[in-house]
């Protein structure tokens, strides 16, 4: 049966042993965030996820959301679970204490989010979207708007949405038609239709605050004419109490492959009262503040699902008895050996494991930069961190969700027919994982963002934040015999990445389609090298810990073995990716359109 135990030991490893979480307390505003304070937080989060959210995952999937004349009902148990979640303070865990949040570092938030995604992705989307809305308002809103809305968004008694997509435009938001007309009192009247709005309507919160992209009457054409508006479901009186229902209604919910307990809504805005957030026509900038956060968060969905799928697959592989080991029976007393003895099962399990642990480590590195970016007062450190986060955001989003999807697929394969039927819950993971490759900018768009915007920005300045640490690491360990096993493959893959990067920079300038043709493969190559660096670092830390005889030899030995598996069995993919990138895009682009 499906089960989930939060991987707390590995999370602590990432937080404190791999990435030196203690350094976070040097940042202004995070002085109190010591391990003594953080450990109970993640332990408590694990409890909520394991005991409250995970048990609702499959029932929520079976039941789904129901639309009834504009109202949306979440599956049984969600209201109660959300109340517990909110009362536990989890909605405001990463928010500013000035608005009632707990202000924990992003590094810690990432760990908590991963657990929520493992336990119940659909549920996690409700508070997840609220956090994006919080971020947009917090960064771009006026004091008056912030005062009126932020407290209750942080508290979770209200929730939030991001309304971007319209029936005729998703990726190309420049085509948006939703209109906002200024009123004498400084507010606006907003009309139009938005689709695919997660948490657009539901019964978990008293009010829903929509953040909507729309055009002002004098707006320039295209993406430079989009503004961001706040539209509450219920108008809010000056005393904070709820007033009349605003002109926004849910016309329908989508029937979809996965995340069935998450309400994906069609929202109709009909002369809805709205308030401008940020400057006129600068809506995309404001939206990107939350979109970048959301993209990192979506990456964690891939990670969370890989982890929970791995746990299910391992449990099954230990119990399921089929056939004998190829080298002779391992459990002669039993009618057959458990399938975990078989090489191909091990291949699949270890692949899943490298995804979960590798992505967790990489997420920790990026999250730490987010903390520096948000809290540091040193302009140089801040800019470096911003560069790094900008560079890694599309990689985290696309790599984690692609690998996460592949892992959930392997999870089914390990279990054979029992993975395919609904009873064990394994097939839900792959259905839930599928959307993460699509929303918040498809993974193809992430790849274009990486090669088009991030690669060449400031003559490659963003790249420096990744390439220099890796190059320095390689140089520093050039003569380290014990680490050679990890550093050598890393070096080989890193040189491939350097060459592919140089190639894209060269051809991409004169022939953008060449860069576009290589983008997805380049992102995967980059991602694998980033994981390899994390694995080499994990190996470095583990070797040192074994040296220190901490009494946790099994943990560190397993780490080293997983690292070796990654270097031997996963990283070589960089060779084929490299060959494909260097082959160029002519075969795709010269193919006659009519021949498709």
């Amino acid at each position: 049966m499906a089960s989930y135990k939060a991987p707390l030991r590995d999370m602590r490893f990432v937080l404190y042993e791999l990435h030196n979480g203690a350094a976070l307390t040097q940042l202004p505003g995070l002085e109190d965030m010591t391990q003594e304070l953080i450990d109970p937080v993640i332990e408590e989060a694990a409890k909520v996820c394991e005991e409250v959210l995970f048990p609702l995952n499959r029932s929520g999937d079976e039941e789904g959301c129901r639309w009834d004349n504009g109202m949306v009902r979440t599956p049984k148990g969600f209201i109660e679970a959300y109340r517990l979640f909110r009362e536990g303070g989890w909605t405001g865990i990463a928010c500013d204490p000035a608005y009632g949040g707990q202000g924990v570092p992003h590094t810690v938030n990432v760990v908590v989010e991963e657990m929520i995604c493992s336990a119940n992705l659909s549920f996690g989307l409700y508070p997840g979207l609220t956090h994006g809305a919080y971020k947009a308002l917090y960064t771009h809103g006026t004091e008056a708007l912030k005062e009126r809305y932020l407290h209750k968004l942080v508290d979770g008694i209200w929730s939030g949405t991001m309304c971007l997509t319209e029936p005729h435009c998703g990726t190309d938001l420049g085509l948006s038609r939703t209109k906002a007309v200024p009123q004498d009192d400084g507010s606006y009247r907003l009309s139009g239709t938005k689709i695919f709005i997660s948490a657009g309507e539901h019964d978990l919160t008293e009010n829903i605050i929509h953040f909507v992209l729309a055009r002002l009457p004098d707006a320039p054409k295209g993406i430079k004419g989009i503004s961001l508006f706040l539209v509450p479901k219920f108008l809010v009186n000056d005393d904070g109490s709820l007033g009349a229902r605003n002109g926004v209604s849910c016309g329908a919910i989508e029937h979809k492959m996965g995340i069935k307990a998450s309400a994906t809504c069609v929202l109709n805005f009909d002369d809805a009262k709205a308030w401008l957030v940020g400057e006129p026509h600068k809506g995309m900038r404001a939206m990107f503040t939350m979109m970048n956060d959301e993209r990192l968060a979506v990456g964690l969905q891939g990670l969370g699902l890989a982890e929970v799928s791995y746990q299910g697959a391992v449990a099954y592989a230990r119990e399921r008895l089929q056939g004998r080991s190829l080298s002779g029976a391992k459990y002669p007393d039993k009618p057959a050996d458990p399938i975990i003895v078989h090489p191909d099962i091990r291949r699949m399990l270890l692949t899943m494991r490298t995804t979960a642990e590798g992505c967790r480590a990489l997420a920790g590195w990026v999250a730490q930069a987010v903390d520096v970016q948000n809290h540091s007062t040193d302009p140089k450190a801040k800019r470096d961190a911003e560069d790094f986060v900008a560079l890694m955001t599309p990689i985290v989003k696309a790599l984690f969700t692609d690998l996460g999807f592949e892992a959930t697929n392997l999870g089914i394969q390990v279990m054979g027919g029992h993975g395919y039927i609904r009873e064990h819950g394994m097939e839900q993971y792959i259905r839930d994982a599928r959307i993460a490759q699509i929303y918040e900018g498809t993974n193809g768009v992430q790849a274009l963002d990486l090669v088009g915007r991030k690669l060449g920005a400031h003559t490659g300045r963003f790249l420096r934040q990744f390439f220099h640490p890796v190059a320095d690491f390689i140089t520093a360990h050039a003569d380290n015999k014990a680490l050679e096993r990890y550093v050598d493959p890393l070096t080989k893959a890193f040189v491939r990445l350097q060459q592919a990067t140089g190639q894209l920079a060269r051809v991409g300038l004169s022939r953008p389609e060449e860069a576009g043709a290589a983008a997805s493969e380049y992102l995967r190559l980059f991602g694998l090298v980033a994981l390899a660096y994390q694995w080499a670092r994990m190996a470095e830390v583990s070797l040192a810990k074994l040296e220190q005889k901490t009494g946790e030899d099994d943990f560190y030995r397993a780490k080293l073995s997983t690292a070796s598996f990654f270097m031997d069995k996963v990283l070589p993919q960089t060779g084929s990716l490299f060959a494909s990138i260097m082959a160029g895009g002519a075969t795709m682009m010269e193919f006659p359109e009519a021949a498709f």
Partner: protein, 768 residues
């Protein structure tokens, strides 16, 4: 033969012309009136020379040139005109004063000397009215542009009585000695460039006001998108001085016939009147359409509002400007409508000026390119639109279509026929565009043949008589791997099939140096081995240039910086355009020259520097030059700094550079023997300590930054020979190895990276 010149009138133009004659190495007498009650009767001319020595951009190419100008006054020194072959009048634009002066000149000048006026507004016929025939025979107008050293246009107008030899002699001197392009014009108001340019500016100003554009919007539109310098129109007016506008407009208005379109654009503008009255005459005054507001100790760039006349902070124009001229004029936007209105009238006006002002369109284009620094002349711009498209659009807008545009119907103003560029004549036929005698222009050669070698950054051409020409074609002619590769191949081809090689191009700058963008990108992805290979490969290629079995002549014009300077240092000889700005600027971006720049400069100062004995003096000289990233502001100055050898040639006329370089190459090719590899005797570590101490004292005095110390300290290591000792001479490759290792050390330095990044992002150096 013109061997001595006089300029009368030491205002901005007169003094500038005198300075430029001196730049050509010709002695010049500069006269002005005696100021009332002055102790020094030459005070005006002497003061003008004094002022020019401090002016930027510098009117003189060297200190030595300034000593060729002798100041004087028109009362005591007039008889000295007897020695002068050419007397240039550049006094105030008043007919009576000019004529009175001519009579006095005529009384003393030697027979056959030429007298010319630099007038821009008075017709030649008026100037000669009542003057003797003998004077008229030796008289013409020579109209220089400001500043005379830098603007390459000279408009020459001769009268019906002017001796052809008089004009020929002045034109020849202007061409070869002063480096000017001589355009012969008819005696019409404003000649060519100002006639069209003043009209263009006036139309641009009134249309901007009428369409409600800001000055930033107008300048953003009428600059880069149409191939005009970034000053646009309002910025240009600030530069030339707003107070000149009413004068010029008035003189044009009085001289032009009533039917001339100029009158339709000549409207009095109260805003400009007020600005002049309040002293806002442009950069020379309190500011103009733009100003720097220093109130409250700050420095705020401001622009004037054309509607209210108040200053407000400068705002970058937010316009969508298509890249192609035709797209700009076709689009439906505020900027496009404005561009169309201004350029439609301007280009039509240009078409009306042929044959009124000059008989051929090529002269109009040349005048606007060289007199107003337009990238394309008006007829080249019409060709970009298509003459028919332009005529149809004019008709659609109810604007008159000039006759010349009708003549061009169905055709273009220029065409290329069998490699020869031809222009459309007023007779409806095509005529070859002929270069002045002896000019060799690569662009012309390129039309007639295929390159011998070519890649994305360079090409090799056969320029005849056994000489090949290596051309940079990369962006800003920066030097990259492709250039090095092709240069390597070039040496093989030339060694086999040619007598000599010239390195030359027709970009506005010879080379801005190594492609820093590529280097920064490689650095950002930590591609250290590739970077080191780039340095080593460049060193090897430049060294191969130096020891090639045939002569190599470098022929720079404009900037030759960093790697662009280093390639010149490895040539057997250089023939430089006078306006060459050569320097090793690597330290400015936190690096040291590493393509042999340090090595060659050490050797030059050692052998050519006329310094005291011992290895130290040369090392110190080179350290001073390189550590301060000194750039020579002329070819003459480059000789002083030994970026050029005393034997290297200087060509004044940009058009004649390639021919001179080719001649030099052929001269060297006779009995050519490649240089012998030398040795470097360097003083070692002790000397480095000394240089470091000097740098530290600069730092203490605030003249060197923290990172300057780091850079100059590594430079000192290279120049002193690392841990060399005086008794063991270093081989060439050992010095190169020193350059390379220190360069790589600096590439890893965060402060150097910050400098490179800053210069690429802002175009300005970072003083960290």
């Amino acid at each position: 033969m013109i061997t001595k010149v006089a300029v009368i009138g030491a205002g901005v133009m007169g003094a500038g012309i005198a300075a430029h004659v001196a730049n050509a190495g010709v002695p010049v007498l500069l006269l002005d009136i005696v100021p009332p009650g002055a102790a020094n009767r030459n005070a005006i001319a002497a003061g003008a020379i004094e002022k020019m020595l401090k002016a930027e951009p510098a009117p003189f190419m060297s200190k030595a040139a300034s000593r060729l100008v002798t100041p004087g006054n028109t009362e005591d020194d007039l008889e000295k005109l007897v020695d002068c072959d050419w007397i240039i009048e550049a006094v105030i634009e008043r007919l009576d004063i000019k004529q009175a002066l001519y009579r006095r000149i005529d009384a003393v000048r030697k027979p056959g000397s030429v007298v010319s006026s630099n007038t821009s507004t008075i017709p030649l016929a008026a100037l000669l009215d009542g003057m003797s025939d003998s004077f008229a025979r030796d008289f013409c107008i020579t109209h220089f542009f400001n500043p005379p050293r830098y603007m390459r246009l000279l408009e020459v107008v001769s009268g019906p009585k002017t001796r052809p030899e008089a004009v020929a002699s002045v034109s020849h001197f202007a061409d070869y000695a002063l480096g000017k392009s001589v355009v012969t014009c008819k005696d019409r108001p404003g000649f060519i460039a100002n006639r069209l340019g003043v009209y263009w500016l006036q139309v641009a100003v009134i249309e901007a006001i009428d369409a409600g554009l800001t000055v930033e919007e107008a300048d953003a539109t009428l600059s880069k998108p149409i191939g005009v310098p970034k000053t646009g129109v309002f910025g240009l007016l600030d530069l030339v001085g707003l107070d000149l506008m009413p004068h010029i407009n008035a003189s044009m208005a009085s001289a032009l016939p009533p039917a001339d379109p100029f009158h339709g654009a000549n409207r009095e503008l109260p805003l400009i009147g007020r600005m002049i009255a309040e002293g806002y005459t442009g950069r020379k005054g309190k500011g103009g359409f733009y100003r720097l507001n220093r109130e409250g100790g700050g420095k705020v760039k401001e622009a004037i509002s054309l509607t209210t006349g108040d200053y407000r902070p400068e705002r970058k124009a937010e316009l969508e400007l298509p890249k192609k001229f035709k797209d700009l004029l076709s689009a439906d936007s505020k900027a496009s409508r404005y561009a169309w209105k201004v350029m439609a009238r301007t280009l039509s006006y240009a078409a009306m000026l042929v044959p009124e002002v000059v008989d051929d369109i090529a002269s109009v284009d040349e005048a606007m390119r060289l007199g107003y620094a337009w990238k394309f002349g008006p007829f080249e711009l019409i060709d970009q639109l298509g003459a028919d498209w332009f005529a149809a659009r004019l008709e659609a807008d109810g604007l008159p279509v000039p006759g010349l545009l009708r003549t061009a119907q169905g055709r273009s103003f220029y065409r290329v026929e069998e490699g020869q560029r031809q222009r459309l004549g007023t007779d409806g036929g095509y005529h070859s565009v002929v270069r002045p005698e002896g000019v060799l222009w690569l662009e012309d050669i390129k039309r007639t043949r295929q390159p011998l070698l070519k890649n994305g950054s360079a090409a090799l051409w056969d320029i005849g008589d056994g000489v090949a020409c290596f051309e940079f074609t990369s962006k800003l002619n920066t030097i990259d791997q492709d250039i090095m590769t092709l240069l390597g191949k070039t040496l093989k081809v030339v060694g086999k099939d040619f007598k000599a090689l010239v390195i030359y191009n027709e970009g506005s700058n010879f080379s801005a140096g190594a492609n820093l963008g590529l280097a920064l990108f490689a650095l950002n992805i930590a591609a250290w081995p590739i970077l080191e290979q780039t340095v080593a490969g460049g060193q090897a290629t430049y060294k191969a240039v130096k020891y090639a079995p045939f002569p190599v002549v470098g022929a720079p014009s404009g900037m030759a910086l960093g790697g662009g300077c280093e390639i010149l240092l490895h040539c057997d000889a250089v023939q430089a355009h006078a306006e060459s700005y050569i320097g090793l600027v690597e330290c400015g971006v936190g690096l040291v020259p590493a393509w042999g720049g340090c090595k060659e400069m050490l050797q030059r100062w050692k052998t050519l520097g006329r310094l005291p004995n011992g290895p130290m003096p040369a090392v110190i000289k080179v350290f001073e030059t390189i550590s301060t990233a000194t750039v020579a502001k002329s070819a003459a100055e480059a000789k002083e700094l030994l970026f050029l050898r005393p034997t290297d040639g200087i060509t004044m006329n940009r058009y004649r550079l390639l021919a001179d370089a080719k001649a030099k190459a052929l001269e060297l090719a006779r009995d050519y023997v490649p240089p012998q590899e030398g040795e470097w005797i360097l003083p070692g570590e002790g000397a480095a300590v000394g240089m470091r101490m000097a740098a530290e004292s600069f730092h203490r005095r605030g003249l060197a930054t923290k990172h300057d110390l780091v850079v100059s300290s590594l430079l000192a290591e290279v120049l002193s020979g690392g841990d060399a000792d005086v008794t063991r001479p270093l081989k060439e490759d050992e010095v190169l190895e020193l350059e390379r290792s220190r360069f790589m050390t600096l590439l890893h330095n965060a402060d150097t990276i910050a400098r490179i990044e800053h210069v690429l992002e802002t175009g300005k150096p970072l003083r960290n």
